[in-house]
Protein backbone atom coordinates (compact mmCIF):
# COMPACT_ATOMS: atom_id res chain seq x y z
CA UNK A 1 0.00 0.00 0.00
CA UNK A 2 3.06 2.19 0.09
CA UNK A 3 2.83 2.62 -3.69
CA UNK A 4 -0.71 3.83 -3.35
CA UNK A 5 0.40 6.31 -0.70
CA UNK A 6 3.19 7.54 -2.93
CA UNK A 7 0.81 7.92 -5.86
CA UNK A 8 -1.68 9.95 -3.85
CA UNK A 9 1.09 12.04 -2.36
CA UNK A 10 1.85 13.40 -5.81
CA UNK A 11 -1.46 15.26 -5.71
CA UNK A 12 -2.32 15.66 -2.03
CA UNK A 13 -0.45 16.60 1.10
CA UNK A 14 -0.30 13.44 3.18
CA UNK A 15 1.79 12.49 6.15
CA UNK A 16 2.14 9.88 8.92
CA UNK A 17 1.83 6.83 6.72
CA UNK A 18 1.29 3.77 8.85
CA UNK A 19 0.95 0.26 7.46
CA UNK A 20 -0.80 -1.78 10.08
CA UNK A 21 -1.43 -4.97 8.12
CA UNK A 22 -0.66 -5.98 4.53
CA UNK A 23 -4.09 -4.76 3.48
CA UNK A 24 -4.68 -1.99 6.01
CA UNK A 25 -2.97 1.38 6.07
CA UNK A 26 -3.56 4.84 7.46
CA UNK A 27 -2.50 8.31 6.48
CA UNK A 28 -3.21 11.82 7.69
CA UNK A 29 -4.59 14.33 5.24
CA UNK A 30 -5.18 18.05 5.22
CA UNK A 31 -8.61 19.17 6.28
CA UNK A 32 -9.09 21.40 3.21
CA UNK A 33 -8.21 18.61 0.80
CA UNK A 34 -10.33 15.91 2.35
CA UNK A 35 -13.36 16.00 0.06
CA UNK A 36 -11.17 16.06 -3.03
CA UNK A 37 -9.07 13.22 -1.66
CA UNK A 38 -12.07 11.05 -0.81
CA UNK A 39 -13.58 11.64 -4.24
CA UNK A 40 -10.28 10.79 -5.86
CA UNK A 41 -9.92 7.61 -3.79
CA UNK A 42 -13.44 6.57 -4.58
CA UNK A 43 -13.50 7.30 -8.30
CA UNK A 44 -9.93 6.63 -9.38
CA UNK A 45 -8.59 4.06 -6.96
CA UNK A 46 -11.88 2.20 -6.52
CA UNK A 47 -12.09 2.56 -2.76
CA UNK A 48 -15.82 2.62 -3.22
CA UNK A 49 -17.07 1.54 0.18
CA UNK A 50 -17.18 3.81 3.21
CA UNK A 51 -16.70 1.44 6.14
CA UNK A 52 -17.07 3.94 8.95
CA UNK A 53 -16.45 7.47 10.09
CA UNK A 54 -15.31 7.88 13.64
CA UNK A 55 -13.68 10.44 15.88
CA UNK A 56 -11.00 10.49 18.55
CA UNK A 57 -10.72 13.18 21.15
CA UNK A 58 -7.07 14.18 21.67
CA UNK A 59 -7.76 16.32 24.68
CA UNK A 60 -4.12 17.03 25.54
CA UNK A 61 -3.32 18.23 22.03
CA UNK A 62 -6.65 20.10 21.81
CA UNK A 63 -7.61 18.30 18.62
CA UNK A 64 -10.28 16.02 17.23
CA UNK A 65 -9.24 13.31 14.84
CA UNK A 66 -11.81 12.08 12.32
CA UNK A 67 -11.03 8.81 10.57
CA UNK A 68 -12.64 7.87 7.29
CA UNK A 69 -12.16 4.19 6.54
CA UNK A 70 -12.46 3.16 2.89
CA UNK A 71 -12.56 -0.29 1.41
CA UNK A 72 -11.62 -1.57 -2.00
CA UNK A 73 -13.57 -4.64 -3.03
CA UNK A 74 -11.25 -5.51 -5.91
CA UNK A 75 -8.09 -5.98 -3.90
CA UNK A 76 -9.77 -6.39 -0.50
CA UNK A 77 -7.84 -3.57 1.09
CA UNK A 78 -8.72 -0.84 3.60
CA UNK A 79 -7.34 2.64 3.65
CA UNK A 80 -7.98 4.94 6.60
CA UNK A 81 -7.72 8.68 6.14
CA UNK A 82 -7.34 10.84 9.22
CA UNK A 83 -7.95 14.55 9.50
CA UNK A 84 -7.26 16.73 12.50
CA UNK A 85 -9.68 19.43 13.64
CA UNK A 86 -9.27 22.25 16.07
CA UNK A 87 -11.03 21.19 19.24
CA UNK A 88 -12.28 24.69 19.95
CA UNK A 89 -13.93 25.03 16.55
CA UNK A 90 -14.91 21.51 15.48
CA UNK A 91 -16.44 22.00 12.06
CA UNK A 92 -15.93 19.61 9.18
CA UNK A 93 -17.21 19.37 5.65
CA UNK A 94 -20.01 16.91 5.07
CA UNK A 95 -19.49 13.84 2.90
CA UNK A 96 -23.14 12.87 2.50
CA UNK A 97 -23.00 13.65 -1.21
CA UNK A 98 -20.25 11.06 -1.69
CA UNK A 99 -21.78 8.34 0.45
CA UNK A 100 -25.40 8.62 1.47
CA UNK A 101 -24.77 6.79 4.75
CA UNK A 102 -22.23 9.41 5.74
CA UNK A 103 -25.01 11.52 7.19
CA UNK A 104 -25.80 8.92 9.81
CA UNK A 105 -22.20 8.88 11.01
CA UNK A 106 -22.15 12.65 10.97
CA UNK A 107 -25.32 12.86 12.98
CA UNK A 108 -23.78 10.53 15.52
CA UNK A 109 -20.53 12.45 15.68
CA UNK A 110 -22.48 15.64 16.14
CA UNK A 111 -24.35 14.17 19.07
CA UNK A 112 -21.46 12.36 20.71
CA UNK A 113 -18.57 14.77 20.11
CA UNK A 114 -20.28 18.01 19.19
CA UNK A 115 -18.53 18.11 15.80
CA UNK A 116 -20.62 20.08 13.35
CA UNK A 117 -21.14 19.12 9.73
CA UNK A 118 -22.98 22.01 8.09
CA UNK A 119 -25.28 20.91 5.28
CA UNK A 120 -25.58 17.31 6.36
CA UNK A 121 -29.29 16.41 6.40
CA UNK A 122 -30.77 16.09 9.88
CA UNK A 123 -27.45 16.55 11.61
CA UNK A 124 -28.98 18.46 14.50
CA UNK A 125 -31.62 15.90 15.33
CA UNK A 126 -31.04 13.70 18.36
CA UNK A 127 -29.91 10.23 17.45
CA UNK A 128 -30.06 8.19 20.63
CA UNK A 129 -30.07 10.76 23.43
CA UNK A 130 -33.58 12.18 23.39
CA UNK A 131 -33.80 15.50 25.12
CA UNK A 132 -30.16 15.57 26.13
CA UNK A 133 -29.13 18.88 27.60
CA UNK A 134 -25.63 18.23 28.85
CA UNK A 135 -22.36 18.53 26.95
CA UNK A 136 -21.50 16.08 24.14
CA UNK A 137 -21.02 12.85 25.99
CA UNK A 138 -17.98 11.28 24.32
CA UNK A 139 -15.74 14.26 24.90
CA UNK A 140 -13.10 13.25 27.33
CA UNK A 141 -13.56 16.24 29.59
CA UNK A 142 -17.15 15.19 30.30
CA UNK A 143 -17.12 13.42 33.66
CA UNK A 144 -19.88 10.87 33.37
CA UNK A 145 -19.58 9.51 36.92
CA UNK A 146 -19.92 13.00 38.34
CA UNK A 147 -22.88 13.77 36.09
CA UNK A 148 -24.53 10.51 37.08
CA UNK A 149 -24.08 11.20 40.80
CA UNK A 150 -25.47 14.70 40.44
CA UNK A 151 -28.40 13.88 38.19
CA UNK A 152 -29.75 10.53 39.33
CA UNK A 153 -30.85 9.25 42.65
CA UNK A 154 -28.58 6.43 43.70
CA UNK A 155 -29.67 3.64 45.97
CA UNK A 156 -27.76 3.89 49.22
CA UNK A 157 -25.57 0.89 49.85
CA UNK A 158 -23.37 -0.39 52.61
CA UNK A 159 -20.21 -2.13 51.53
CA UNK A 160 -18.47 -4.71 53.64
CA UNK A 161 -15.09 -6.29 53.44
CA UNK A 162 -15.98 -9.92 52.68
CA UNK A 163 -13.33 -11.56 54.84
CA UNK A 164 -14.02 -9.69 58.07
CA UNK A 165 -17.77 -9.70 57.48
CA UNK A 166 -18.01 -13.45 57.07
CA UNK A 167 -15.66 -13.98 60.00
CA UNK A 168 -17.89 -11.84 62.17
CA UNK A 169 -20.97 -13.63 60.94
CA UNK A 170 -19.75 -17.21 61.19
CA UNK A 171 -17.31 -17.05 64.10
CA UNK A 172 -18.39 -14.14 66.26
CA UNK A 173 -16.60 -15.46 69.35
CA UNK A 174 -13.11 -15.37 67.80
Amino acid sequence: MKELYDTISLQFTLKDFHQQKPNLAFATAEKQQLIALLTYMRDVHRYTHLVFVTAVDWLEENRFQITYMLHNYDIKADFGIRVMLDRDKPVMESIHHLWEQGRVYQRELHEMFGIDFPGSPGVNEPMILEGWQGPPVMRRDFDTAKYSLETYDHRPRDTREPESHMKEKLYPED
Binding site: W132, T144, Y152, D153, R155
Partner: protein, 235 residues
Protein backbone atom coordinates in the same frame (compact mmCIF):
# COMPACT_ATOMS: atom_id res chain seq x y z
CA UNK B 1 -68.11 36.33 37.56
CA UNK B 2 -71.46 37.58 36.43
CA UNK B 3 -72.83 37.05 33.00
CA UNK B 4 -74.13 40.14 31.30
CA UNK B 5 -77.06 40.14 28.97
CA UNK B 6 -75.57 41.72 25.86
CA UNK B 7 -78.60 43.87 24.99
CA UNK B 8 -79.65 45.13 28.39
CA UNK B 9 -76.39 44.97 30.29
CA UNK B 10 -78.22 43.47 33.27
CA UNK B 11 -76.57 40.53 34.94
CA UNK B 12 -78.64 37.40 34.50
CA UNK B 13 -78.99 35.18 37.48
CA UNK B 14 -79.24 31.44 37.58
CA UNK B 15 -77.30 30.74 34.41
CA UNK B 16 -73.98 28.97 34.57
CA UNK B 17 -71.62 31.30 32.76
CA UNK B 18 -70.12 29.72 29.67
CA UNK B 19 -66.56 30.46 28.70
CA UNK B 20 -66.62 33.95 27.18
CA UNK B 21 -66.14 33.89 23.45
CA UNK B 22 -63.13 36.09 22.83
CA UNK B 23 -62.34 34.61 19.46
CA UNK B 24 -59.18 32.98 20.81
CA UNK B 25 -58.59 29.46 21.95
CA UNK B 26 -60.17 28.95 25.35
CA UNK B 27 -57.84 29.47 28.25
CA UNK B 28 -56.84 26.15 29.72
CA UNK B 29 -56.13 27.57 33.15
CA UNK B 30 -59.61 26.62 34.32
CA UNK B 31 -58.58 23.00 34.21
CA UNK B 32 -55.93 23.47 36.81
CA UNK B 33 -57.50 22.14 39.93
CA UNK B 34 -56.06 19.14 41.66
CA UNK B 35 -58.55 16.75 40.07
CA UNK B 36 -57.47 17.22 36.50
CA UNK B 37 -54.20 16.94 34.64
CA UNK B 38 -53.19 19.73 32.34
CA UNK B 39 -51.02 17.80 29.84
CA UNK B 40 -49.34 21.15 29.52
CA UNK B 41 -46.37 19.90 27.53
CA UNK B 42 -48.52 18.80 24.61
CA UNK B 43 -49.88 21.06 21.91
CA UNK B 44 -53.40 22.38 22.36
CA UNK B 45 -54.75 19.96 19.81
CA UNK B 46 -53.03 16.99 21.39
CA UNK B 47 -54.28 17.93 24.82
CA UNK B 48 -57.76 17.00 23.69
CA UNK B 49 -56.71 13.52 22.65
CA UNK B 50 -55.78 12.39 26.12
CA UNK B 51 -57.72 11.96 29.28
CA UNK B 52 -57.11 14.47 32.01
CA UNK B 53 -58.33 12.40 34.93
CA UNK B 54 -55.87 11.31 37.58
CA UNK B 55 -55.50 7.68 38.57
CA UNK B 56 -57.42 6.75 41.65
CA UNK B 57 -56.56 3.99 44.11
CA UNK B 58 -58.75 0.92 43.74
CA UNK B 59 -60.76 -0.05 46.79
CA UNK B 60 -60.42 -3.66 47.90
CA UNK B 61 -63.54 -5.80 47.85
CA UNK B 62 -65.09 -7.38 50.92
CA UNK B 63 -62.53 -9.62 52.72
CA UNK B 64 -63.16 -13.16 51.43
CA UNK B 65 -64.06 -11.89 47.97
CA UNK B 66 -60.83 -9.95 47.76
CA UNK B 67 -58.99 -13.08 48.85
CA UNK B 68 -60.61 -14.99 46.03
CA UNK B 69 -59.70 -12.24 43.59
CA UNK B 70 -56.12 -12.33 44.79
CA UNK B 71 -56.01 -16.08 44.33
CA UNK B 72 -57.24 -15.68 40.79
CA UNK B 73 -54.78 -12.87 40.08
CA UNK B 74 -51.85 -14.85 41.44
CA UNK B 75 -52.63 -17.79 39.20
CA UNK B 76 -52.99 -16.00 35.90
CA UNK B 77 -50.00 -13.74 35.59
CA UNK B 78 -49.74 -12.51 32.06
CA UNK B 79 -46.43 -10.95 31.32
CA UNK B 80 -45.56 -7.89 29.32
CA UNK B 81 -41.81 -8.24 28.92
CA UNK B 82 -39.91 -5.09 28.12
CA UNK B 83 -36.42 -6.06 27.05
CA UNK B 84 -34.74 -2.85 28.08
CA UNK B 85 -31.34 -4.43 28.54
CA UNK B 86 -29.37 -7.64 28.22
CA UNK B 87 -31.29 -9.40 31.02
CA UNK B 88 -34.30 -9.73 28.75
CA UNK B 89 -32.60 -12.67 27.05
CA UNK B 90 -33.56 -14.81 30.03
CA UNK B 91 -37.21 -14.65 29.10
CA UNK B 92 -36.70 -16.91 26.10
CA UNK B 93 -35.62 -20.00 28.05
CA UNK B 94 -38.31 -19.13 30.54
CA UNK B 95 -41.21 -19.37 28.11
CA UNK B 96 -39.84 -22.18 25.98
CA UNK B 97 -39.79 -25.89 26.65
CA UNK B 98 -37.09 -26.16 29.28
CA UNK B 99 -38.50 -23.94 32.01
CA UNK B 100 -41.94 -23.51 30.50
CA UNK B 101 -43.66 -20.99 32.73
CA UNK B 102 -47.05 -21.66 31.19
CA UNK B 103 -47.32 -24.56 33.62
CA UNK B 104 -47.38 -21.87 36.32
CA UNK B 105 -50.21 -20.04 34.64
CA UNK B 106 -48.02 -17.37 33.10
CA UNK B 107 -47.66 -16.40 29.50
CA UNK B 108 -46.16 -13.52 27.58
CA UNK B 109 -48.51 -11.03 26.00
CA UNK B 110 -47.72 -8.66 23.16
CA UNK B 111 -49.58 -5.60 24.44
CA UNK B 112 -49.84 -3.71 27.72
CA UNK B 113 -53.61 -3.89 27.55
CA UNK B 114 -53.64 -7.64 28.10
CA UNK B 115 -50.85 -7.98 30.62
CA UNK B 116 -50.82 -7.86 34.38
CA UNK B 117 -47.11 -8.21 35.10
CA UNK B 118 -44.66 -5.75 33.69
CA UNK B 119 -41.26 -7.36 33.46
CA UNK B 120 -38.37 -4.96 33.02
CA UNK B 121 -35.29 -6.73 31.76
CA UNK B 122 -32.18 -4.77 32.57
CA UNK B 123 -30.81 -1.27 32.57
CA UNK B 124 -33.18 1.57 31.82
CA UNK B 125 -32.02 4.51 29.80
CA UNK B 126 -33.87 7.79 29.74
CA UNK B 127 -35.24 7.08 26.29
CA UNK B 128 -36.52 3.71 27.50
CA UNK B 129 -37.92 5.18 30.68
CA UNK B 130 -40.34 7.24 28.61
CA UNK B 131 -41.66 4.08 26.98
CA UNK B 132 -41.75 2.28 30.31
CA UNK B 133 -43.87 4.96 31.91
CA UNK B 134 -46.29 4.97 29.01
CA UNK B 135 -46.55 1.19 28.87
CA UNK B 136 -47.01 0.93 32.60
CA UNK B 137 -49.79 3.49 32.60
CA UNK B 138 -51.50 1.77 29.70
CA UNK B 139 -51.69 -1.53 31.54
CA UNK B 140 -55.03 -2.38 33.04
CA UNK B 141 -55.18 -2.82 36.77
CA UNK B 142 -54.40 -4.82 38.80
CA UNK B 143 -50.83 -4.64 37.62
CA UNK B 144 -47.52 -5.66 39.07
CA UNK B 145 -43.91 -4.93 38.20
CA UNK B 146 -41.00 -7.35 38.31
CA UNK B 147 -37.62 -5.78 37.62
CA UNK B 148 -34.95 -8.24 36.61
CA UNK B 149 -31.19 -7.56 36.79
CA UNK B 150 -28.81 -5.63 39.01
CA UNK B 151 -28.96 -2.69 36.69
CA UNK B 152 -32.61 -2.19 37.50
CA UNK B 153 -31.87 -2.23 41.22
CA UNK B 154 -28.95 0.13 41.64
CA UNK B 155 -27.54 0.81 38.21
CA UNK B 156 -25.33 -2.27 38.22
CA UNK B 157 -22.31 -1.85 36.04
CA UNK B 158 -23.91 1.25 34.57
CA UNK B 159 -23.89 3.05 37.90
CA UNK B 160 -21.74 5.84 36.46
CA UNK B 161 -23.52 6.09 33.13
CA UNK B 162 -24.88 9.46 32.14
CA UNK B 163 -27.96 8.02 30.53
CA UNK B 164 -29.37 5.25 32.72
CA UNK B 165 -31.56 5.70 35.76
CA UNK B 166 -30.32 3.94 38.85
CA UNK B 167 -33.50 3.09 40.71
CA UNK B 168 -36.60 2.18 38.83
CA UNK B 169 -38.73 2.37 41.98
CA UNK B 170 -38.32 6.13 41.85
CA UNK B 171 -40.29 6.24 38.63
CA UNK B 172 -42.75 3.37 38.77
CA UNK B 173 -43.58 1.16 41.75
CA UNK B 174 -41.73 -2.15 41.70
CA UNK B 175 -43.09 -5.20 43.51
CA UNK B 176 -40.24 -7.67 43.13
CA UNK B 177 -36.59 -7.24 42.18
CA UNK B 178 -34.52 -10.14 40.94
CA UNK B 179 -30.78 -9.70 41.39
CA UNK B 180 -28.09 -11.08 39.17
CA UNK B 181 -26.13 -10.05 36.15
CA UNK B 182 -27.99 -11.63 34.54
CA UNK B 183 -30.23 -13.78 36.72
CA UNK B 184 -30.70 -17.40 35.77
CA UNK B 185 -34.21 -18.45 34.71
CA UNK B 186 -34.55 -20.20 38.08
CA UNK B 187 -33.97 -16.89 39.81
CA UNK B 188 -36.57 -15.18 37.67
CA UNK B 189 -39.00 -17.97 38.46
CA UNK B 190 -38.24 -17.56 42.16
CA UNK B 191 -39.05 -13.89 41.68
CA UNK B 192 -42.40 -14.77 40.17
CA UNK B 193 -43.12 -17.16 43.04
CA UNK B 194 -42.36 -14.34 45.45
CA UNK B 195 -44.72 -12.11 43.50
CA UNK B 196 -47.43 -14.75 43.82
CA UNK B 197 -46.91 -14.87 47.57
CA UNK B 198 -47.18 -11.11 47.76
CA UNK B 199 -50.36 -11.05 45.71
CA UNK B 200 -51.93 -13.81 47.80
CA UNK B 201 -51.04 -11.88 50.93
CA UNK B 202 -52.56 -8.74 49.40
CA UNK B 203 -49.28 -6.87 49.57
CA UNK B 204 -48.64 -6.24 45.88
CA UNK B 205 -50.27 -2.82 45.89
CA UNK B 206 -47.97 -1.00 43.52
CA UNK B 207 -50.80 0.28 41.41
CA UNK B 208 -52.48 1.94 44.36
CA UNK B 209 -49.18 3.35 45.50
CA UNK B 210 -48.73 4.89 42.08
CA UNK B 211 -52.16 6.48 42.29
CA UNK B 212 -51.61 7.76 45.83
CA UNK B 213 -48.13 9.15 45.26
CA UNK B 214 -48.85 10.16 41.69
CA UNK B 215 -47.38 13.64 42.03
CA UNK B 216 -44.18 12.32 43.54
CA UNK B 217 -43.70 9.81 40.74
CA UNK B 218 -44.51 12.41 38.10
CA UNK B 219 -42.05 14.87 39.59
CA UNK B 220 -39.33 12.22 39.57
CA UNK B 221 -40.10 11.25 36.01
CA UNK B 222 -40.12 14.80 34.76
CA UNK B 223 -36.88 15.50 36.55
CA UNK B 224 -34.91 13.08 34.40
CA UNK B 225 -36.99 13.11 31.21
CA UNK B 226 -36.01 16.54 30.00
CA UNK B 227 -38.08 16.59 26.81
CA UNK B 228 -41.38 15.52 28.27
CA UNK B 229 -43.74 15.31 25.30
CA UNK B 230 -46.23 12.79 26.62
CA UNK B 231 -49.60 13.06 28.28
CA UNK B 232 -49.38 13.28 32.06
CA UNK B 233 -51.35 10.12 32.53
CA UNK B 234 -51.91 7.80 29.66
CA UNK B 235 -54.41 4.98 29.62
Amino acid sequence: MSYMDKTTGIPEQGITPPIPDTGEMPDREWRKDDKTLTNAELTLEEQDWFCDARPTPAKPAWGPVEKFYNWARANSLWILAFGTGCGAIELRPLVTARYDISRLGMQPRPTPRQASVFMIGGYVSIKTLKRIVRSYEQMQGPKFVVAVCSCAINGGMYWDSYNTVKRIDQYIPVDVYVTGCMPRPEAVMAGFSKLKELILAGKAEGQNLYAEKFDWYKANQKQVIKDWNMPDYNW
